[in-house]
Structures are given as structure tokens and as C-alpha cells.
Symmetry: C2
Subunit: 529 residues, 2 copies
């Protein structure tokens, strides 16, 4: 199956073109909250062996198909060609059918299935017995014209050195490389994926990181990122130069800005990280995928910067087990932007949302004078498996005194213990890396609940529940969370605490130095309710 | 203006006929959440002096009118007659226009306005400067055929004795009367309002109560219910025989049941209570309104009964000040119905919802085996000024072991102190009087939070907030609530407490005797989330 689509913002409509190369008895194509075939919105083409039918259908909580009372996938043409069958159909972003999926900004989980036998009716299709799949995309890509590229542009490919993809479902591959000696400061103006032909379905996402300037050398590692052989020092290669995820296209910087790399005070060492997703456990497949950087020595007006918003990586922010949508919020307060941003403000043009495995939705809003002004970036079908850098539909100007509030929603229904904040894969993060210009010294503007108030929570829970839970000060915060009996009262009061207690602000100039802002009482904003 | 309407349940459409007797330059007619002219859904007929226009419009939060993008009030005919202009138009219960009001069961606040000058456009209408009004109705009356009435039916009018309506906005008038000597047991099968001609707009609601049988005599009072002259004993006349509110029609008992009155063991004394609403402070108007009871000596198969569901009248259930929609829930638990209901169950056929002034919504659901089974009665636009007895669309069967959960939503935005449960007009209630047959001994099945847990809440608030709030045991519960500093944490934790803490059940055989059920741990039900 090959999907192309066109978005018309004035008409609020998406046109889909689906090419089915070897069609047998029909196909299913549609959308659902997180890629499941239950409660999905589907366009279905099916044949009973004699005639073919097309319809707008929905699946119930058991995956059983039903015809929609209102037909909103409108078939425009069906055309046979040597390469296969082309289906052209259109769908409004929002329909009035309560069974339909609402097409929104952010991630859309596209699902598809192939019918290999004739079926007497739509209802006879067993969605769990067909060959089927999932593809995450940003369906509503912003309508931005491609910026003009400089004539003196050069390219550099940061690619894997013809490695063998391990025959296991999930691999994070780490490859260290370096910039040429005495490579002066340049601006990256664009980058795009370079994927070895035939491996398009295996390369899940890729990132290029620059290493920390404080170390003179880094070892030349080439192997799995989780290997015991991986040198510790590679953890200091975390400054993102480029990021791509399956479904994403080339990334262009705005004409007035570029991402600086090379030159004095920056490391020449780069780390390429590739996530290979190999569910069929294919053996011996070779790969040289990576990212092609387009850069220029003619520096643009502004250096672009990356600012980290959201929650501090600390266990004080925790999610009880068994929650279907638990919300944590991180603040970049007015006090921090007042101190750290220039009077003319900064312009945010792109954003990369980040959580670990329990993340289900992320949103950052800009507030001024205590009022929500605009959404910076929102993804209500966020997936930790699809963390692309997204251009914003419109550039967001942030001025001193503004607030940036990042809210993450988590699902911990499959966990039996509390999930605390931290770096581990089973711990959680709530981060929005916003890309902006002109670059400032502010690298990080995040918060966490005041630890003193969290301590009051532990002792309150202890007293209210009449239980012998050890809340002794020498016990670590994760251990204290793990010993809480998670009844509805303790859950609710934790939520109340997080929305009430004062916060501790991290307003950092670089990875080490803080701007002199610490504890703030929590702002009362509409977004918090 | 005179409104008639017809409901088609198969088509989910209401047909309205509006007779405008003295039309000048147009009128507004529509619906809004609580009768306000802001955020309202309106059909507008207006004239610029030359031509007339009709349109489906909406008003924004400032009361400014806008044309709907989708026209859902469909004008069918406009006809001039000697008595005035007839407008016939239709409106679906639910439209796909987000600016439209959803027509639901329960109270609908109809609003209207008269244009006395020509207007150049819809936008030029100033909704706050026109002559306007509000009428609450149950728009979606159940589609029940009128039960056959017995041939030996008799009538009795319980009416005010030609009193003078006081020249003040609000009067509750109390009039004591009695049944004939040795009046044997009868069944009331129907009742209807009797309103003195010309006083239709002044008589707001009326109730007939039977007095308690334990007193032999009651004084013959005739005067305002809040007068200092009113004898204390009238407070023992609380058993409802009939209730009517403006907008309501005649009330019919189902053919298989009637409300018993007269005979051994019941008082012959009745109290009529009339609420006069006289905003124009008309003087000297005489009134003999009341209720006409239709009764028969040929007893029907079942005596009807009234069961009180919801919350016990106790200050332990409280609403913080400044809340826009605070929820309290009262339970009639499985344990109580198990003990008190006959194996064949009871049939609920009507319901009267009751709160004091802060009530905004009331709903009772029936649950069986921990699952919500059906809604008994719901009003999401409930008004304490429109407490009619409503026939249910379908009879609800309740069996031993079932649960009846009553949830009330309150608004205390205009209050500065906590509102506690109780009898006073500034205290609150959460009650659903359900009318059912066959009559049982169970008169009351209500709950309240366990007082021990409320005490833990007071001491938790005390400790968490580091404030010197006196939570000494000798202080009354209302005083303890009044001394709480109402920050978001204390509000949230009170909500959490009410949904978590065990409840104390009142499962009463009569006003005095309890079935042996007391404290129950709170059932976890979907309705509670």
C-alpha cells in the first residue's frame, strides 16, 4: 500500500490517494486513537467475489465493523493502472458523525488491513484475522512554503558504516563520528533522512547529537546503545543537531536562522543514534542509513537555539499505577523568562515533544498576564514511538514575563508500581524541546513540585489511612511512592497536591549554571483545572 | 405570547406554535442553560420597518446576537389571524451546530423578548434593552396515554379561601383545611391546578400536604408560611398529596395505583401551600387558587407510595463557597433495598427532584451488581424554582439488592461561606421523591459521609495548611466548615473525601424507625467518577 495525501486548510479537508499494488478482495484504511482496530474510523473496500463495495464504517469496542449512518469518506475515483489500483477519496477534518475520528494537529495513527478472501458483507469482516498494520504520521502538516536555500550550500552525511541490523525486534544503534579538523562555525539550514534502499520499513527513527565541549576526545564506538561495551562518556553527547522519525520529511530552518555547529567552543564529536524496528527478525540485513545535513558558511541572521520546557527529571513528580490518564504539568515561569529572555523576545518555530513509554498526550501553552494566549504545540494522540521535530503552523513569539506551561498525560494501567520521574526507560519525562531564534543563554526552563510539600503529602497519607507505611526521611522518594497503598483517596490527594503546592523552578543558563530563580508559588491558570 | 408545542419522539423533533398577540417589530424566542440571554439559542423574527426576516441565531457571552451558520429553527408557516400572528416552526432535539442548545429531558428554560422598534439588522438588536422574559417548562413531556378514569370518581378542591395576595415579590401562603368527618380510605387518581382567572402569572407553585396522624388536631391557620403567627405544629404537615408548579399539567396516577388518603390511621388535616410570585407588586389581587383532587372509593390494585432518596439532612455534607459545580452524592444501598423491598420489587412511575437555592442539576441512577443500569430521572438544567412531579418516560422496576444513586450539582459562586446540609433555605438538600407502587414500609433511603472520616478531614486540613484553625471537638460541624481556609487543596481533598470515605446509611421504615442498616463502605460505581 502506498499513501499520498493533500491537505486543504481553507476547505478543512484531506484528499487521500491510496495505491494498492496487489489487491485481492479489498482493504481497510482508517484512523483510531492510538492505532488499535477497536473504536476505529475506517474506509472499507470489499468484494463478495462478484461485486465490489466501498463504504465509511466504524468498529466497535470488540472490533466488529458497522456501516456509518453518515458517509464521510467520499470515494472520488477508483482507477486500475499497471502498478495497481488507485483509490482517491476525501474526508473532512471534522464531521458531524459521532463515530468518526476528528483529524487534528499532531500524531495520527493510520491503520490498514488487506482482505485476502471474499466477504459476503461488511459485517462479515473479522478485523482481528486479517493482515493488518499501523503507520503514525503527522497528517496535518503545516502549510509552509519551503525556505530558499543558499547557493553556497554544502552537504554532509552522518550515516551508519554499513552495519548489520541485529536480528531482534528493537535495536538502538550508536555510532560515533567527527567533524573535519578545524571545521569552522556553519549553519545547518536543512536536513533529511538518507535511508538504505529496502530498509524503509526497518529504520524507525534517527538522531544526530553533538557531544559536550568540555571533553577533548570521545571513543569511536559503533554498536548497540544498550551494550555493556558502550563507553560511559557517550552519555555526554546529548545536544540535538537533527532528529527524524518514520513518517517525517526533510526539516528546513526558517530563512532567518540556522543551527550553529563547528567552530570554537563546540565539540567536533557527533553521535548518530538509529532505532531499528525489526518485528519480522530479518537476519543479515546491512544498513547505511543516517541523516544528510545541508549547511552553509554564510551565516544567517540568527543562530537557532533549543530550549527544554516541562518537568525536571526528578522522582518528586510521580504517576500512581493503574491510571488511564494522569496529568503532570511543568512550568517555565514569568520570573525565569523575565530574567533570561531578551526584550525583543524569541521566536519558536519548531517543537519536539518527549516522554517515555507511559506518555499519551503532550501540550505546551503560552500564557501572558495569567491568561492562556495560544497553544505552542499539542499532540492529543502523542506516541513515544513517533518523536519527530515538528514545524509550528505559525511562529510563536515569547517575551520576558511570559509563561510556558507543558502538560503531559500518562497511562499506567499496565503497571503495578508508581512511575517516578527520571532518566530510566521505566521512569518518566515530560519535555518539549522548542527550537527558536535568536539563541539565548537559557537552555532549560522546567519545574517540579516543592519537595517539602511532597513530604507533607507522604505524612498526610500515612495519618489518614491509619497504616504502617514507613515515611522515614532516610527512605528515598521512589521507595516512599512505592509503599503508598494506592486507593482513590491517596490518588486524588496526589493530584490535588500537584495542582496546589508551590513549585521549584530550574531556570538554567547552561547544563550547570542556574539563573537565580528557585521556588515560585503555583500560578493559577485555566489550563490547570 | 402563547406557546404550544408538539413532540415527535420517532423524528426527534419539536414543533412550536407561537401566537404573538400584539406584535410590533418582531420577537425573540429560544432556549438557554438557565434562562439567561447570554450564550442562548434563539429564533428571531425582526423587521427593519419595511421587510420582515426570520433566522436561527445565537448570543455570545455578552448577549450580542449572531446568525447561526446552520439554520436549525425551520420556519414552516407565518399566518396572520384576528387574534395575532401565528408562527409555526420546528427544531430537532439535537443539531450538529455547536452554538445550538441540546433539547433534553427535564427542565428547559425558554426565553423570549419583544422588539418594540424596527432594527436595521439582527446584530443591531440589544438583548438587554428589550422587554423580555423567562418560562421554565418540561419541553419533552413523556408520551404517555392518559389513563382511563373510574366512573365513580369524585372531586374535591383544596383552594385558598379568597385571600388577598400580599403586595410583595415572594409569598408562601399556608392554609389549613380538613377532610370531611369519617372520610374513609380513597385513592387519588388524578389532580390538576385550579387557578383564579387572571392570576395565572402570579401562582408559581402549589402543594397539598397531609398532616401527621400522631396529633389529634391542628390549628386552622390561614396566612403567610413565614409569619411569626404560624403555629409550630404546621411543620408536621409534610406528607405530599399533590404538587404542581407553573408549566406543569394535570398529574395522573397509573391505572393500577392510587394515592391513599382518608380512613383509619391517617390525619384528616391538610395544609395547602401556595407560592405567589408577584414581581410587579400588584396590590389587592384576590385569589382562590388551589388543587382539584380526583378520587375514588373503588380502590385500585395498589396503594402508591413516596420514597425519599438522596442525602440525609446533615451538615456533614457541605459545599465550599465559590464553587461553580460542586457534586454531592447520596446512596440508597443494596443492603437497604435487600431488607426493605418485596421480592417482586417496586415500580417507580414519577419523580420530584428537590434541592434548595444552590441546586443546578439532579440525577438518580439505578445500579444492579455494581453496574449502572438506567437513569431513573435526570435534570441537567434543574431549577429550585420549578419542582414539579414528573411522570417517568418508562416505569422503573427496583428489586431487592438494587442501588439508587442520587447526585446533585450545586453552584455557590455567590456565597462566601460553606453551605452545609440542613433544612434552612441557605442550607442544602439533595433529594428525589420517587412515586411508586406497591407501597412499602420504606419511606426514606438516604446516606451521608461517615462523621469519623469527616473528622479526619478537618484534622488533615489543619495539619497540611499549618494554620491555627480550631478543629476542637466541641465546635459544631458548620462552625468547623466555616473556619476552613478554602484554597484549592482543601476543596479538592473534600471532594476526594466524599468520593472515598465510607457512608452512613439511613434506611427508615417510617419517620422514626430504622431498618438495621448503618454504615456501608462506599460502592465503586461508574457514576462516581
Amino acid at each position: 500500500l502506498e499513501l499520498s495525501w493533500n491537505v486543504s486548510y481553507p476547505q478543512q479537508v484531506v484528499h487521500f490517494q491510496l495505491l494498492a499494488k496487489k489487491l485481492k478482495f479489498g482493504l481497510l484504511f482508517g484512523m483510531s486513537d492510538r492505532g488499535e482496530f477497536e473504536n476505529a474510523d475506517l474506509a472499507v473496500l470489499w468484494s463478495d467475489g462478484h461485486r465490489s463495495y466501498f463504504g465509511d464504517a466504524w468498529s466497535d469496542a470488540k472490533g466488529q465493523l458497522h456501516m456509518d449512518s453518515q458517509q464521510d469518506y467520499q470515494l472520488l475515483t477508483a482507477r486500475k493502472a499497471p502498478e495497481g489500483l488507485y483509490l482517491l477519496f476525501r474526508r473532512a477534518f471534522s464531521t458531524c458523525d459521532p463515530k468518526d475520528y476528528l483529524i487534528e494537529d499532531g500524531t495520527v495513527h493510520l491503520i490498514y488491513g488487506i482482505l485476502e478472501k471474499p466477504v459476503p458483507s461488511l459485517q462479515a469482516i473479522n478485523t482481528s484475522a486479517i493482515h493488518r498494520g499501523l503507520q503514525r504520521v503527522q497528517l496535518l502538516k503545516p502549510n509552509i512554503t519551503v525556505p530558499k536555500l543558499p547557493s553556497d550550500m554544502d552537504t554532509m552525511e552522518i550515516t551508519a558504516p554499513d552495519i548489520v541490523i541485529p536480528s531482534q525486534e528493537t535495536t538502538y544503534w550508536c555510532y560515533m563520528t567527527e567533524l573535519p579538523e578545524h571545521f569552522p562555525k556553519h549553519h545547518i539550514v536543512m536536513y533529511e533522512p538518507v535511508i538504505t534502499a529496502g530498509n524503509e520499513a526497518l529504520v524507525h527513527h534517527m538522531e544526530v547529537f553533538q557531544c559536550a565541549a568540555e571533553f577533548d576526545t570521545f571513543p569511536h564506538y559503533n554498536g548497540p546503545c544498550d551494550s555493556k561495551m558502550k563507553p560511559e562518556r557517550l552519555n555526554y553527547c546529548r545536544h540535538v543537531l537533527a532528529a527524524w522519525a518514520m513518517g517525517a520529511q526533510a526539516f528546513y530552518y526558517p530563512e532567518e536562522a540556522g543551527l550553529a555547529f563547528g567552530g570554537q567552543g563546540s565539540s567536533k564529536y557527533l553521535r548518530l543514534e538509529i532505532h531499528y524496528h525489526n518485528p519480522l527478525v530479518i537476519k543479515g540485513r546491512r544498513d547505511s542509513s543516517g541523516i544528510r545535513l545541508y549547511y552553509t558558511g554564510t551565516l544567517r541572521r540568527h543562530d537557532a537555539g533549543i530550549l527544554e520546557l516541562g518537568l525536571v527529571y526528578t522522582p518528586v513528580m510521580a504517576i500512581p499505577p493503574g491510571e488511564d490518564s494522569f496529568i503532570l504539568t511543568g512550568y517555565c515561569t514569568d520570573k525565569c523568562t523575565q530574567l533570561a529572555l531578551p526584550a525583543a523576545g524569541i521566536r519558536i518555530f519548531a517543537s519536539q515533544l518527549h516522554t517515555h513509554l507511559a506518555g499519551r498526550a503532550v501540550v505546551t501553552v503560552l500564557a501572558r498576564d495569567g491568561r492562556e494566549l495560544q497553544v505552542v504545540n499539542a499532540d492529543s494522540h502523542y506516541s513515544p514511538h513517533f518523536q519527530e521535530i515538528r514545524m509550528l503552523k505559525e511562529i510563536v513569539a515569547v517575551f520576558p514575563g511570559d509563561e510556558l506551561i507543558t502538560t503531559c498525560t500518562y497511562n499506567t494501567e499496565d503497571r503495578s508500581q508508581a512511575t517516578v520521574g527520571g532518566f530510566g526507560i521505566m521512569e518518566e519525562m515530560c519535555v518539549n524541546y522548542v527550537h527558536y531564534y535568536p539563541q539565548t543563554q537559557l537552555e532549560l526552563c522546567k519545574s517540579a513540585v516543592d519537595p517539602g510539600y511532597l513530604h507533607r503529602y507522604f505524612s498526610l497519607v500515612n495519618r489518614f489511612n491509619d497504616e504502617e507505611v514507613c515515611m522515614c526521611p532516610q527512605v528515598s522518594i521512589p521507595q516512599q511512592f512505592h509503599s503508598i497503598p494506592w486507593n482513590t483517596f491517596n490518588r486524588d490527594v496526589l493530584k490535588s497536591l500537584y495542582s496546589f503546592a508551590p513549585i521549584s523552578m530550574h531556570c538554567n543558563k547552561s547544563s550547570a549554571v542556574r539563573f537565580p530563580v528557585r521556588t515560585a508559588s503555583q500560578p493559577e491558570l485555566p489550563s490547570q483545572t
